[in-house]
Structure formats: C-alpha cells, structure tokens
C-alpha cells in the first residue's frame, strides 16, 4: 500500500514547485552553462593534445590560474560544512533555511576544486603515480588524503540531514518520473520517521557536526602548507594555515550570501530566507572579514618591516610594482569596501546624505557616466583632443582622483544600499569573492616570479606569467560546472530543508541535540 504523503503548507508547496518548474530562464541558464563547460572541455582537449606549452605555465611558473582556482574552490567549500556544523552545535535557530545551501556549496566546489590539480598536472595518465610513488612526508600527499577525507565527510554531512526530505519527496513523487522515484527510494533508506530512525539520525548528525569541524579546518591548513613548507618569499610563513582558513571562511560565507539571494529571487523563497537572514549572514561576513584583515596585516607587516634583500623584489612587486593594482584591489575592493557596505548603511546619519545635492544618486551617477563617456568619445569626435581623452587617459588618472571619485560614488550609493540591504549584501559578497580569487592569484604568482635564485637564461616571455585562453577557458568551464552542479542539485533536492524548517515552527524552545538545536528565531532583532 503506497504511503500517504505528508500535507504541505503553502510555503512548502512553493519550495517543492522549484523542483519541477523549469521555465525558459532556467533552460537558457543551463544551456549557457553547458556551452561554457563544452568550451572548457575543448580547451582542455587542446592542452592534452599539445601539452602544457599552450598555457602560460613554464619552468618557473609551475602553478598559475589552475592552482588559484584550486585554492579558491577549496576555500569556498569550507564554509558549508564548517558554518553549518558550528551553527548546529551552538543551536542557532536561524540557520535552518540556509544550512543546506551552504552544505551544497561545499559539495559542488569541492568537486571542482579537486579537479584542478589534475588539470594542472598536464599528464592525467600519471595521476596514479601520486599514490603509488607519493611520499608521506610531502604536503602534496597530505592534501590528497585530506581532500578525499573532507569530500567524503561533507557528502555525508550533506546527505544525512536530507534523508527525511528525500523520504517526503519519495512519497510526493510516487506518480512522477520513474528516475526521480527510484532515486528518492534509494536514497531515503526506507525512512518512515520512526523513533528509532530519528534517534539514529540525530546521533549521526551529532557525530558528524563535531567531526567535520576539525576536518574542514585541517583541509585548508594542509592546502596552505603546500605553499608554507617551501623556502620561498611570500610563502615561507608560520601563519599561513590560519591565514588561509580565515580567508576561506570569509569567501565561503560571502558565497552563501550570493546563493541565498539567487535562490530567494529565482525560487521565490521570501518566506524562508528573510531580510533577517541576510542581516545575520552579514554579521558573520563582517566578523570573518575582520579576522581575515587582521591575518593579512600580520602576514605582510612582518616581512615588509624587515625588507630582507632576498624578499625585496617580491614585496616591491606586490606593494608598488607589477602586482600592486591586483593586491590593493583585493584589500580595498575585496575586504574594506564589502565591510563598509555591510556596516555603514546601518549608521543613523546615512539617510541624511541623500539630502546633500551632490550626493543624490541619480545626478551623481549621471555626472560620472557622462564624464566617462566624454573622455572616451571625445578623441573619436575631435581628433585634436586625442591627448586628453581615450582609454589611456582614464588609466593614467592620478590615484587621488580615482580615490575621490570612488569615495563620492560610495557616499552616493550608501542611502540606496540602506534602503536595499539585500542588494548591499549581494554586492559586498560578490566583491569578496572576486577579491578572494584575485588574492589567491597574488599569493601564488608573484612568489614564483621572484625566486631567491633569480630567473636566468630563460627564453623571452618565460620570466613573466601570462595566462592563455586555454587557462581562462578551463577556469570559466570550472566555474560554470560549479554553478551547474549547484543548480541541478537544487532541482533534484529541496534547497531548503523542509523537515528542519517545520521543526523550527513546532519547537521554538531550545533543544538539546545538535540535529534539532534552537537558539533564537531568524527574525529576532539584531544585536
């Protein structure tokens, strides 16, 4: 006799509708992602056919964009398991609608991150050699072991709390497509919600929530040791482990904010993911960002205070030379600006800014846009003004003018972001993630460009790393793969936990177990 499906509340129906509804927007997005992935696969085929010579990687630059992607994806993967586990253990009630999103980010980004070292190897037929001839003394082997362990643990951590929901879907989609029903029946493990089953589930969640925290921390620590165990300027650091972990948590929390906004908008989850969730996640991002900023300061102040001769070239290139723009963007645009965006709009005097004429958004933006357009178009219209305008003139603007314009734009937009806190959180989180990727690039490439023994007798162009179209294509393919896995996951499984959000309504009082802990409603006033 078929099981009777549980009755659903209206908001749960909205959630389940997101599993089956696939409009033209969804199909277009999947098509675009598949096209980018296909292009990435073509680029990889070119790399396989002609070797790593088609990339910008050379003798001195054995790591580049691929390892940047690897560190970035592993970093983003952190937050899912770690944040979810910490919030479960501490009994934060508001976590319930967002934990599965975070855990799914971990799963998708780990899959993509784990691929990157193999792409970087150039000879995938030698993958087994890593295990056959790997040395236990090498951080590279530690990395393989820790990532494998973390992938297994985070998959379990994602899967186990989904079992009651999968059982609900099994009953709900009994008359649906056969593949769906078979998949749900297999993964539901015969879940009926009996007392014994709930007991086992809570026990598993308790064990996994505690276990996954040291595993997640150790994974990114080991990733940092791949760099930190070498004697190279910029990498030879004792705080690389915590520095990497703090950066990973910062970028991962920001990625969760982006995912929350995307799913809230696409699947109409306003009843589940409220403004209060963005506010609380914003607090988390601010706290993690400040810790990360502290570690960054500590990481760079020590060598730059001493300016040892062997490290001078590297430090000069990062602070004021070839990589200065990237570095300062990662610090100002990737850390400072997001933190300001998340904090300043809450200050009481911000609405008064809109009364100042030069800070009104529309005139200010129009003035800026017109100025840029005039500078760009004037040389084309009046050839005599070529020296005054064009792209080159904009690029050569003094730093103080750029800073003043940026500050003006920021002050202009503050009242707008105050009215739209979710937009502010999304812009801040996107900036954090772009900055996080670029920061990984700045960690990896300048060090390789400035080894202790200078690069000598290298062919022209080999002493500078310039990623080629192959690397950019594979990177775009990996990003598209990450988004596609995440998107397809949300089409097969509910992106918000149904049974946990049900319990949120049923049991407002604090609970004792990590699987069903409570600690305050999401809509509670912010501290």
């Amino acid at each position: 006799m078929p099981r009777q499906p549980d009755p659903l509340s209206p908001r749960e129906r909205v959630l389940l509708a997101s599993l089956t509804a696939a409009g033209p927007g969804f199909c277009a997005l999947v098509g675009a992602l598949l096209a980018v992935i296909a292009w990435g696969i073509i680029a990889y085929a070119v790399q396989l056919r002609y070797g790593l010579g088609v990339t910008g990687l050379r003798d001195n630059f054995m790591w580049g964009v691929y390892i940047t992607n690897f560190v970035f994806f592993i970093g983003v993967s952190h937050v899912g398991a770690l944040m979810s586990a910490i919030l479960r253990i501490t009994g934060a009630e508001w976590r319930r609608p967002v934990t599965r999103m975070a855990e799914a980010i971990t799963f998708a980004s780990l899959l993509m991150g784990a691929l990157m070292p193999f792409v970087d190897m150039g000879r995938p037929d030698r993958i087994l050699n890593l295990l056959l001839h790997g040395r236990l003394q090498s951080p590279v082997l530690w990395d393989i072991l820790s990532i494998g362990t973390y992938l297994t643990g985070s998959t379990l951590f994602l899967y186990v709390p989904m079992i009651p929901d999968i059982a609900l879907l099994r009953d709900r989609f009994a008359g649906g497509p056969a593949w769906r029903h078979r998949l749900y029946a297999l993964l539901a493990l015969g879940w009926n919600g009996t007392e014994a089953q709930r007991h086992h589930l809570e026990r598993i969640m308790g064990v996994m929530a505690i276990l996954i925290i040291p595993i997640a921390v150790s994974v990114h620590t080991v990733v940092s040791w791949i760099f930190g165990m070498t004697l190279r300027a910029g990498w030879n650091s004792t705080i690389f482990g915590p520095y990497f972990v703090s950066g990973a948590l910062f970028s991962g929390a920001a990625a969760v904010v982006t995912a929350m906004a995307a799913f809230r908008w696409a699947y109409h989850l306003e009843d589940y993911i409220t403004e209060a969730h963005f506010r609380r996640m914003g607090y988390l991002v601010i706290a993690l960002g400040m810790i990360y900023a502290y570690f960054t300061f500590a990481e760079y102040i020590t060598p730059s205070y001493k300016m040892a001769a062997a490290e001078r070239g590297y430090l000069s290139a990062v602070f004021s030379g070839q990589f200065a723009r990237l570095f300062w963007f990662t610090q100002l645009g990737g850390v400072l600006l997001p933190l300001l965006l998340l904090t300043v709009p809450r200050i009481a005097w911000v609405p008064r800014l809109a009364r100042v004429p030069i800070l009104r958004p529309v005139p200010a933006l129009a003035t800026l846009a017109t100025s840029v357009l005039v500078l760009l178009l004037l040389p084309a219209i009046l050839p005599r003004t070529a020296a005054l305008g064009g792209f080159a003139a904009i690029r050569q603007l003094p730093v103080w003018i750029v800073a003043a314009l940026g500050g003006w734009l920021f002050l202009t937009l503050l009242p707008v972001f105050r009215q739209r806190p979710i937009a502010a959180a999304v812009v801040a989180s996107l900036l954090v993630n772009v900055g996080a990727w670029l920061k990984r690039f700045v960690i990896i490439v300048p060090t390789l460009q400035y080894p202790f023994l200078p690069i000598q007798r290298a062919p022209v162009g080999w002493a500078v790393y310039r990623p080629t179209w192959v690397e950019w294509s594979i990177t775009a393919g990996a990003l598209a793969g990450f988004v596609l896995i995440y998107l397809l996951f949300s089409k097969v499984f509910p992106i918000v936990s149904i049974w946990e959000t049900r319990e949120e309504g049923r049991h407002p009082a604090p609970a004792s177990s990590p699987a069903g802990a409570h600690g305050g409603a999401a809509d509670a006033p912010a501290p």
Binding site: R135, L136, W142, T152, G153, L189, A196, Q197
Partner: protein, 185 residues
C-alpha cells in the same frame, strides 16, 4: 737536389710521416665506453679516432640521451689531446640510450645502451635518530616515512575513517529499521 736522389731520404721522410702526431687527421669513428661507479653514477667516455685508429684531438662532440620526447643534449664539448671526452650520468638517471655525435656536422655517430643501475641506499637513515636531529637532514625531510609521522597520520586518518564507518553502520540501521521496524541489526 742531390740529396733528393738518395733513397735514404725518402725512407726518412716516410718514417717521419709515420712518427708525426696525428694532429689534423680526419676523425673516422667514435668509440664509446661506459663504467659504473660504486656510488651509482655511470661515466661515459667517447674516443674519436681516425681511419688508422689513432686518437684525434679537438674534435667537437655532443653527448645526447634518448628520452620520450626525443634526443636531449647532455653535454657539448671537444676531445682532449688523447682524443677522449667524458660525461657522467647521475645515480638517479633512468636507463636508456646514450649517443655521441662527433665532427663539425655531427655525422660520425655512436650509441651505447646504459643499463638500469642499482641505486645506492640513501645516506640518511630513518627512524628515531632522524627525529632526534642526529641526521644531517632531520625531521620530515627524511627520504623514508618517519615512524612517528606514520603513527600520527594513521591515528588521525584511521580515527576519522573509523567514524565514517560508524556513520555508515548507523545508516544501515536506519535502512533496516525502515524495512523491518523493531528488528535489531
């Protein structure tokens, strides 16, 4: 002119030609010889000789090694006064074909197959001594897994995977409970 008519003069000239060093003689062949040393290295010696078998000095030589990607140049040199030149293959080098090309255009060629050599045991010994810093390369840089490190990793990874096993067992119990409620696993 009278001197030229004497047969002894031609005999002397012939003897002088034979005795004179072979400088300026054209190289005709390259002879290759290998010698394995106790430390695992292999010395490859090339001797360039002319058509009469006499060594030829100052002949340009190129030592090459066959690799999966083609011939790799190991050394570009010239023969010494004794007509020889040498190169040494490191102890860790893989076995393979070594070729020598002699002459300005490299047309005189010889090759020899270097067999797999038994690698010498590493100087550094693993174990507690390494950890105690008695070895010149203490700690994790040891070429062997350090026992303490293996134990440490084994305990951590073993503990984690054992916990995963426990979780899998609990999942099986959930499944069993779903199929047969109330029946113990």
């Amino acid at each position: 002119m009278r001197l030229l008519r004497k047969p002894s003069c031609y005999t002397l000239l012939l003897v002088a030609l034979l005795v004179l060093p072979a400088e300026g003689a054209e190289p005709a062949r390259v002879l290759l010889r290998t010698r394995a040393a106790a430390d695992g290295t292999v010395q490859v010696t090339a001797t360039v000789v002319d058509a009469r078998g006499a060594p030829v000095a100052e002949v340009p030589l190129v030592f090459k090694r066959r690799t999966a990607f083609g011939w790799l140049t190991l050394l570009e040199t010239s023969t010494g006064k004794d007509g020889t030149a040498q190169t040494t293959l490191g102890a860790g080098a893989a076995p393979g074909e070594i070729a020598v090309e002699a002459g300005e255009d490299g047309t005189i060629r010889a090759a020899v197959l270097v067999e797999r050599r038994k690698a010498p045991p590493p100087v550094i010994r693993p174990g507690r001594d390494v950890l105690r810093g008695l070895s010149p390369q203490p700690g994790f840089i040891s070429p062997y897994p350090v026992p303490l490190q293996v134990t440490f990793f084994g305990a951590i990874l073993g503990g984690i995977w054992a916990t995963y096993g426990y979780v899998a067992w609990l999942l099986l119990r959930i499944r069993r409970e779903g199929n047969h409620p109330g029946r113990p696993l």
